[in-house]
Amino acid sequence: MAPSNQRRSGFSKRAQYNLFTGYIVAGIGALIGAVLLGISFFQPHLFGGPRGVAQDAASPATETVAAARTGSKSLWDSVSGYYRAGSKNAELKREVELARIRLQEAEALRQENVRLKGLLDLHDEERRPVAVARLVGSSSSSTRRFAYLGAGTDDGVRVGMPVRSARGVVGRILETGRASSRVLLLTDSESVLPVRRAGDETVAFAEGRGDSLLRIKLINLGINPLKKNDMFVTSGAGGYYAPGTAVAIVTELTDDGALARIVSDPAATDYVSVEEIFEPEAAVGARTPIEEELGE
């Protein structure tokens, strides 16, 4: 392609100065960018305000697309359901029958739990979700794993609240706008979640690796007790997440723990619910440095 003559300033002093000023401005812009980048490394939430406003402004479009996306997905599910419908149906019937029996057993256990808790004078109030909304989008071109939620401060969403789907934990609220908020997904490499193995008290940390897997780091090192297909649930430590919510399934064992796949893939979820912080006092305690004293 031929070069454009617009950049040739020739002998015109004015054109030369214009060109020169352009370079200077671009250079200053790069410097400003570098400074802002440095600031946002140390104060990550400083620019949350403008970002929240921008998200809110884009939310009518993102909401519409999210609705269309989940609609098309369920259409595909119903089409693919016809594939080998007969054998699938028989298998599902058998599973449902087993599940019904288990459900009755679980109901009996729940009753017993209520009775025992009554004896001990423990009573936990019913936990209602703060808001139910769609995941409307994500930072899909960035290395970080953030999702955008279609509910914000107007719906009562606050920073730090856990986000879950019907399947399990999705992540935690990081920034809030008025009608939208940003969620730190479990797969982000800055996300750490205290977990325990379902069924026993093997406690660990589930850290995002940034490549769709979680790293399960056992707290008590020794002989690795984990096996493939072990399920990990939240332990409730740290105070953010209520205990007993499904997090991940072990896929591969490592020296100090395991690699696990998340149970609740945000891309496959329709609606998610935002819940209250489980124990706000504990969460504050976990944030306070060791040197500082807790309490008044």
């Binding site: 950049r7 980048l37 899909s140 960035s142």
Partner: protein
């Protein structure tokens, strides 16, 4: 005349009789298309890996490489601020990288004024790869080996999608210079 050849009085940009280019459309289309490119990735829900190419950045490169002189050198600043609102990186990342990319292309153009498309593609590929690698380094999280592996598919898609982006820009350019205005 029209009976012999219906397109006798028109060229690639429409009829030449009592029609003129719209100044507003001609100036606004590149900026708007780059901003739409910045917005596009938030519509995808990608929980596992970063898979969607940085459309805004690619759009900027395509406009800059195909229509030199249309975007000013400092265009990376306002467009970068807009991209930073949506890209998920720490604020300031796009302002810095987009400005540097504009300056880099400027320097390259001084040395290679005559270029073929494959050279533009090579330039965009190298810049896109550098952009994603910088994004991995300066993401605000501590960069680790696994997340480096995770950006490989995105790098490949980014490089392969550039010809399509430049076709889109070519079509937008035709539309930009269409004679909309009745004189």
């Amino acid at each position: 005349m029209e009976r012999i050849d219906p397109r006798a009085r028109s060229d690639a940009y429409g009829s030449r009789l009592n029609r003129s280019h719209s100044v507003v459309v001609a100036n606004v289309v590149p900026w708007i298309s780059i901003m739409i490119g910045s917005l596009l990735p938030i519509f995808f829900v990608a929980a596992a890996l970063p898979v969607v190419p940085p459309f805004g950045f690619l759009m900027l490169l395509a406009w800059r490489l195909m229509r030199p002189g249309l975007l000013p050198v400092w265009a990376g600043i306002p467009l970068g601020i807009f991209d930073d609102l949506f890209n998920g990186q720490p604020f300031g990342f796009a302002i810095l990288t987009w400005s540097l990319a504009m300056l880099a292309i400027e320097a390259l153009e001084m040395r290679l004024p005559w270029r073929a498309f494959w050279q533009d593609w090579l330039t965009a590929g190298v810049l896109g790869f550098t952009y994603l690698l910088t994004g991995w380094l300066l993401s605000g999280a501590s960069p680790n080996f696994h997340s480096l592996i995770a950006i490989v598919p995105q790098v490949v898609i980014t490089i392969l999608i550039f010809p399509i982006m430049s076709r889109i820009v070519a079509r937008l350019d035709l539309w930009r210079l269409w004679r909309w205005k009745r004189v």
